[in-house]
Symmetry: C2
Subunit: 264 residues, 2 copies
């Protein structure tokens, strides 16, 4: 399971304040805490600072990598901001995310083409948000083929089938996880990854729904997650589900997590 | 989701003591509590009392049905004990369980043949315990066809694919839930049901594993569970997973459970 730590996002007030104050220590702490809690990538997002995104995103990458050796997931649709960040990024970054929306696709494809960058491919097009398994497969198919034709290796692609709220349609949970299953079945070597918290929008006990949905998605083959790694209960669910999915040889990581008191 | 309450089982010391003392009130309380917590069937098992099973099982059915209008899951391989219990059972009972083991199959088939009884069909044969999806499908196929040829309706059959411990083989979780998926896909109208706690045998934090595995099985189509309905955390997981699986119209049961403080 590939964990993308989501906390360094300027849409969170404390992070926005740290960015404006150029408080590198606050960012470093968030990076280090997430890495220690199991993050494989540290997401960085400065999207609310439209005019200063280039400068701030690059500064976030710099701050994160001063604190941990984990690569970043560079979370922006803006090619200049991504390129400025990649100039100084150590190791192989992830780009979060390309989609089938015309502008986004045309802006980001040249950045990832022919590289070893990891790339999140979001199942979104100019025709709007996908609802059914078929909607998602149609977009995923175009995205994956477009990326492969541009010399991106299939194992570097993380398809995000896009979670929609259960409160809007009580079939939206299954449409999403069945899309995960189909994408994994149709494209050998592909990864899937997503943020899941949209599923519980408008419903009570959101944490229970988010944890439960994560486990259901892992049962269907989800192998990447954009989450808060400091949410110990969520991470315990992921560790247990990964073991139960047969992706943790001899349950070693599960037993280690137990010994380190990370399951309770 | 069909919930079979597992608590009235003589392998539990308090239940064995209540049976020997013929303490009907203790049994009635266990029946009532489980029904109120959401059990659709109340399992009754007096298997440890080999010589008195006929008398005791019948007494359990009588006691349960004096306290609740829920039907019983009559949990025995002994035809005389089952028949004595069925004589006095009100409503449509479930028989737990037939299997492909020769004696058990030949003893129980005449009891369910041509009736409207529900029947749990355990994927076990004289060749031993199934390990792979294929092992389970082979046994399920024979059991289902045998029952249907004996005029048992497919919708009255609950296949139990038989959970094996993850500590024995780290693929046993997926072999089980993939069997659930295949059985549901191959036999339209069939149900699946099982006890899940074997999955965590020999591993720490068993409750976490049991809850997580239940959710994964529901994602793959499990629609019946033999559980302790008084385990509120497990029931909350089942309620959330059922909603996320699109089996709870407008999330009504989920929202009701929240209002009744059953999700926390």
């Amino acid at each position: 399971m590939i964990i993308i730590g989501e906390l360094i996002n300027a849409s969170r007030k404390a992070v926005a304040a740290a960015i404006e104050a150029q408080d590198a220590n606050a960012i470093k702490k968030l990076a280090k805490d997430q890495a220690e809690a199991g993050a494989d990538y540290i997401d960085v997002n400065a999207g609310i600072f439209v005019k200063k995104e280039v400068e701030y995103l690059r500064w976030l990458v710099e701050s994160v990598q001063a604190a941990t050796d984990k690569p970043c997931a560079i979370d922006s649709p803006a090619p200049q901001a991504i390129e400025a960040s990649l100039e100084i990024h150590q190791g192989t970054a992830m780009i979060n995310s390309i989609s089938l929306e015309k502008d986004r696709y045309e802006n980001l494809l040249p950045i990832v083409a022919g590289t070893d960058l990891k790339v999140v491919a979001l199942c979104m097009s100019d025709e709007g948000m996908p609802e059914s398994v078929e909607d998602r497969l149609k977009i995923a198919d175009k995205l994956i083929n477009g990326l492969i034709q541009n010399n991106v290796k299939i194992e570097n692609i993380f398809v995000d089938p896009l979670v929609q709220p259960l409160s809007v349609n009580d079939k939206f949970g299954m449409e999403f996880i069945n899309a995960v299953e189909q994408i994994k079945a149709n494209f050998a070597g592909i990864h899937t990854a997503c943020g899941l918290s949209n599923i519980s929008y408008g419903l009570p006990e959101r944490k229970l729904l988010n944890q439960t949905f994560m486990v259901m998605a892992i049962a269907k083959g989800l192998d990447g997650a954009i989450v808060n790694p400091l949410d110990q209960k969520m991470m315990a669910c992921i560790t247990a589900a990964t073991a139960l999915a047969g992706e943790d040889e001899f349950c070693q990581e599960y037993i280690t997590a137990f010994r380190e008191n990370r399951l309770s």
